[in-house]
């Protein structure tokens, strides 16, 4: 998946209403009216969310021309969650390698902590 594709997926997923819509669609396709029902949002409001989801490739329209039901497209979602899981795994992996390196460094030079040095003037506190 391109990073632009992922961006669109993440942006689409960042909204709780849109996640709820996806959760609803996970149990089967639904019309816009059916999707709007559980939410305290107007139908045009729901349509806006659906547009975002559609653009991100997370949902598509079913065959029925009358109801125009929306259905879930699982692939982009799976790719997004894979990517997110990978992020955590990457840092777990990094830090496990750091553990091993620190073990080596400790046995190589078991000294007490050096005195603090200030290389440069500290700037104002970061917010």
């Amino acid at each position: 998946m391109t990073s632009a594709g992922l961006d669109a997926t993440f942006a689409a997923l960042a909204d709780p209403t849109r996640r709820a819509i996806l959760a609803r669609l996970a149990s089967g396709e639904a019309s816009v009216t059916e999707l709007a029902e559980p939410f305290d949002i107007s139908q045009p409001g729901i349509s806006k969310h659906l547009k975002v989801l559609e653009r991100a490739g997370l949902i598509s329209r079913g065959r029925d021309a009358q109801r125009r039901p929306r259905k879930l497209e699982a692939q982009p979602l799976a790719e997004a969650t894979d990517w997110l899981e990978r992020y955590r795994e990457i840092w777990e992996g990094n830090y496990q390698r750091l553990d091993a390196l620190l073990g080596e460094l400790k046995s190589a030079q078991p000294k007490p902590e050096r005195k603090k040095r200030r290389l440069t003037k500290p700037q104002g506190e970061q917010r």
């Binding site: 993440f10 997110l84 990094n94 390196l101 620190l102 603090k116 290389l119 440069t120 700037q123």
Partner: protein, 170 residues
């Protein structure tokens, strides 16, 4: 998960609407952890990401105003690079720098703050990234970068599980 409080697993939290914080305890004194983060020959050995990737470029000018540059490489994939400028450097306890990926998937420059606190010979490492906007942070975190942050990730998991349970048959 029975490692005790001082060998806590990586924790990821969101203290404000633009920040993501990763906390991890290392079983080593602070100056060694600081060295491992700031000396290129050491950093290259662990900040290598997913397996198969290496970090052929690691340049660090550890002064206020000094730049750093990292590039990761994997055969058959485009290089991934990032870099920025040091805003604060306090040896061996604090580094603040700007962070920008070449592909800029974070939608602008972020600010990273690394704080090392030593306690009983161990070092608590807190790595904060402040993103350019709340939207970007939300994009990264709210979708559920970790289960620690949340329910949203569990929801996605459930969503995917129910999708799998339904199978391909529509």
């Amino acid at each position: 998960m029975n490692d005790g409080p001082m060998k806590a697993a990586l924790q990821i939290t969101t203290p404000s609407d633009r920040e993501v914080v990763m906390t991890r305890v290392f079983d080593a004194p602070r100056h060694l952890v600081f060295d491992a983060w700031t000396k290129p020959e050491l950093l290259k050995r662990w900040l290598t990401g997913p397996s198969g990737w290496t970090m052929p470029v690691c340049e660090i000018d550890l002064r206020v105003g000094g730049r750093y540059r990292y590039v990761w490489r994997h055969p058959g994939q485009p290089d991934m690079g990032m870099g920025g400028v040091h805003l604060e450097v306090v040896v061996p306890e604090r580094i603040v720098n700007t962070q920008l990926f070449d592909q800029d998937w974070t939608g602008g420059e972020g600010v990273g703050t690394l704080v090392l606190v030593e306690h009983d010979g161990k070092t608590i490492t807190t790595n904060t990234v402040r993103y350019s906007s709340r939207e970007v942070r939300d994009m990264v975190i709210k979708t559920g970068m970790t289960e620690g942050v949340g329910a949203s990730y569990d929801r996605l998991e459930e969503l995917l599980a129910s999708q799998r349970a339904r199978g391909a048959g529509q």
